[in-house]
Symmetry: C2
Subunit: 490 residues, 2 copies
């Protein structure tokens, strides 16, 4: 068990506390603010909600959290000390004096400063080598980036240990070997902020329009590849040097007329093209394109599940497509009630495939579950009904995989109501690619009261609709495989 | 059926062609480049791979694609004409002359220009009202943003119709009512590009370090909320005005010393705070935080599935956690072979829940499938083995849901080998939250040859390991529910 001291609570200190605690460290907090404990616990609540499930492997048991009246008490036994006090050099200098009077000489002191250079923090200290800048990004409990800025005063051992600890709590140490005001990332944020202020002031765009320009455009691109890799792919086979020759010091005349730009020498072009080759030259451009597209699709679909941003746009587009795709929203809209109901018509998305090169098994159930949702909507168990406290829970599922299907293939699901009386709903889904049967899904659901979480009868109109479908489908031959158990002979 | 003319192929024209074609429009291309057809077909191949599966509803049947030797021929019957010729005003002017000599007077002519203002394109034209800027982002077939820039010469009807068509092909028209060089988004890209050139030139950071600063930091944030909403949330309950008072015209002294910044008057603060309130004031900050975290987790997990960017960092972190979490990678590492094998220890992620407020049914199968993958690895069917052409495909699955579980809850899966001889692998998974049984999964898999996609015997070491586990587990009582069918009495 290891111990971290958090000097200065608030949103940033709280985020650091969460990173350490949820990765098994004991955390000792010192902050004169009487609200510090409340503030840190609020951040912790958010962190506990989101961080432990971020990965696919459980984190260790949480460490212990304690609050201390003095810096002296807080730094006792601490291996890492994170300073997140206000951005004033005189305050920081005072805190560092107190820290170093009491902490272990081999403890690492990281500063969350977004503006000061590490040399400014080390200046005048007896043991400057233990002080580094470790600049995090909000929300600290989820964003992996740490700008680790060091000076020649920091011994290699301290730098290596800092990287190790940052990595151990699930973050990425971006080691900047040359210090500069505001490090790297915030210089970009500053440039964008300044441009945004002009656009709003000049009435070109509102804050909402600017935010949409970002999140529907380059923001999504930058979530997976940065500036240079993005342009590398855009430049295509001709490569980074060609891209730069084409666009030069400004991406296009005359946008930079007011700005100070570096002289665009051959040396600068070679420097950038060479670094870009070293960064990503091992991946062919065609493959970079596919990686980019896989990432964009995956992220937009993740946003779609939250009905937010670019994903919400796509959901709206889907909604407008339903009719033409043959999907209905009520029993009355079904053209021929005697036949299984079309409950899904889609193309297998890129993020539904696995290492075997085909649609992965859990996505068959994802598709069947979406078909069940559609059938629920059709019988009247829609968003409003669910918001009022009634829904169906799946009790049992039996899936048989009959044939493979791949990303980009069109699939359809047709659904039969085997039984629908009282609390029970027994469904039979068949998934097709054209005439090719891919899989069957047999599902037993129970109507529940969402308050008691127990089974309860559905509203009358739902049972009526369900019985109507069940009776219409009862005249069809029983589906092959219905009621089968695994391992039972056909 | 509607028709679009694409004037100028290449990556941008090809992306437009794909957007229209895959949304059911006929597309007529004109480009003097003899390589245009090849280039457009390459973009189309990427688009067909990624776009149709982006949403959850099938797109209409593809329109027809044709290539034409003249602009005259291409624009015949076109309702939308998209110009993506080189960024030289004299070339564009010449093309517009030819376009307008032959196109319908009520067709809309959109320009992909990233730099020119619409008035510069409209200047001197007989019918300026049909010309708008419709600036897309690469890859055009996936990125939703279109900067739609108009002038007073554009009638309301043209603007409305342009928005309607852009929306109909699944994109987002960001209507900029006041024109400016480079519109909005590229002004930000330009500011970041300029700053990046300085950082590389001055040896502060390499292209790779800059890209990492972006994609592990603000890039992911901006994929879901833009600049202003991000700062609104960071500012907390005190609101946007407080945030601005705190940070002022520069995010922190002295980063902007070389730059021209707007005077930071009360009017500007009120303007921005007021717009931000209008944009997102209806969502409480606490809810904004949760939305942000849901989005970040969903996107990072999507990147993790592709082992890329911030998701790849998390995968590496997971790997380092396996041992402490009690997970093993081979039969020899299993402490007590007579007991079910621990094949998963995790926390339910935020993106695994649904409208019923609990873990959604397909994620039970996702978890069981990951446990099957772990068991495959343990018996020797690992990444290398699969790369060499052997694997297991699931034939049948039977899941019983016994109890609910929620995001943030720790879950474990224990796995028994019921039968493992020859090509068959019969598994029984039990999912627990502590001692509480949540679900059982019974799975029949077949070993396959990935080249023939048919069942085939596994390698000897795999069968040996499987038999070893099956024999050890055979002495345990048969699990309750094994071999059961849906609807069968207990």
């Amino acid at each position: 068990m290891t111990t971290a001291a958090i000097i200065g609570g608030g949103v940033i200190g709280g985020g650091w506390a969460a990173r350490f605690l949820l990765n098994g460290w004991d955390v000792r907090v010192s902050d004169p603010d009487p609200e510090a404990e409340r503030k840190i616990n609020e951040v912790l609540a958010n962190a506990r909600r989101s961080l432990p499930g971020l990965g696919n492997v459980a984190l260790p048991p949480e460490g212990s959290l304690s609050f201390h009246g003095s810096i002296k008490e807080a730094v006792e036994g601490a291996e890492w000390i994170q300073e997140s006090v206000p951005e004033r050099l005189d305050i920081k200098q005072k805190v560092y004096g107190e820290l170093q009077a009491h902490c272990a000489p081999d403890a690492i002191i990281g500063s969350s400063t977004s503006g000061f250079k590490p040399s400014e923090l080390q200046n005048g200290r007896e043991n400057p080598g233990q002080i580094v800048v470790a600049h995090p990004f909000n929300p600290v409990y989820l964003m992996p980036l740490i700008e680790l800025v060091t000076t020649p005063a920091n011994p290699t051992g301290v730098i290596d240990r800092a990287k190790e600890i940052i990595t151990a709590i699930g973050m990425f140490p971006l080691h900047l070997k040359k210090e500069i005001d505001a490090h790297v990332a915030d210089r970009f944020l500053e440039a964008v902020w300044r441009e945004a202020l002009w656009l709003v002031k000049d009435g070109i765009a509102t804050t909402e329009e600017i935010d949409n320009a970002i999140r529907y455009g380059f923001g999504i691109r930058w979530a997976q590849m940065g500036l240079f890799d993005t342009y590398r792919v855009a430049g295509g086979e001709a490569g980074m040097k060609h891209f730069m020759a084409q666009f030069g010091p400004c991406l296009s005349w005359p946008w930079t007329k007011l700005m100070d730009v570096p002289e665009f020498t051959d040396e600068l072009v070679d420097l950038i093209a060479g670094q870009s080759d070293e960064q990503s030259g091992h991946i062919p451009i065609r493959e970079m394109e596919r990686i980019r597209d896989d990432n964009l699709v995956g992220m937009m679909r993740a946003l779609g599940a939250n009905d937010w941003g670019a994903g919400a746009l796509q959901n709206k587009h889907d909604l407008g497509r339903e009719g033409e795709a043959g999907l209905v929203r009520s029993v009355d809209e079904i053209a021929d009630i005697s036949q299984p109901v079309l409950t899904q018509s889609r193309v297998v998305p890129l993020d539904w495939t696995d290492y075997n090169g085909h649609m992965t098994e859990s996505r068959y159930l994802d598709a069947f579950a979406q078909s069940t949702d559609r059938l629920m909507m059709i019988i009247g168990c829609d968003t409003d009904y669910i918001a009022n406290g009634g829904s169906y829970f799946t009790a049992e599922t039996h899936i048989r995989h009959i044939d493979e299907v791949h990303a980009g293939d069109a699939i359809q699901v047709k659904t039969r109501v085997i039984m629908g009386a009282g609390k029970k709903m027994h469904l039979w889904h068949e998934m097709y690619a054209g005439d090719r049967l891919l899989a069957t899904g047999e599902h037993m659901l129970l109507h529940v009261d969402l308050k008691t979480r127990r089974s309860a009868p559905p509203a009358a109109h739902i049972e009526t609709n369900l019985v109507k479908l069940a009776e219409a489908h009862a005249v069809l031959d029983a589906p092959e495989g219905l009621g089968r158990a695994i391992g039972a002979p056909r």
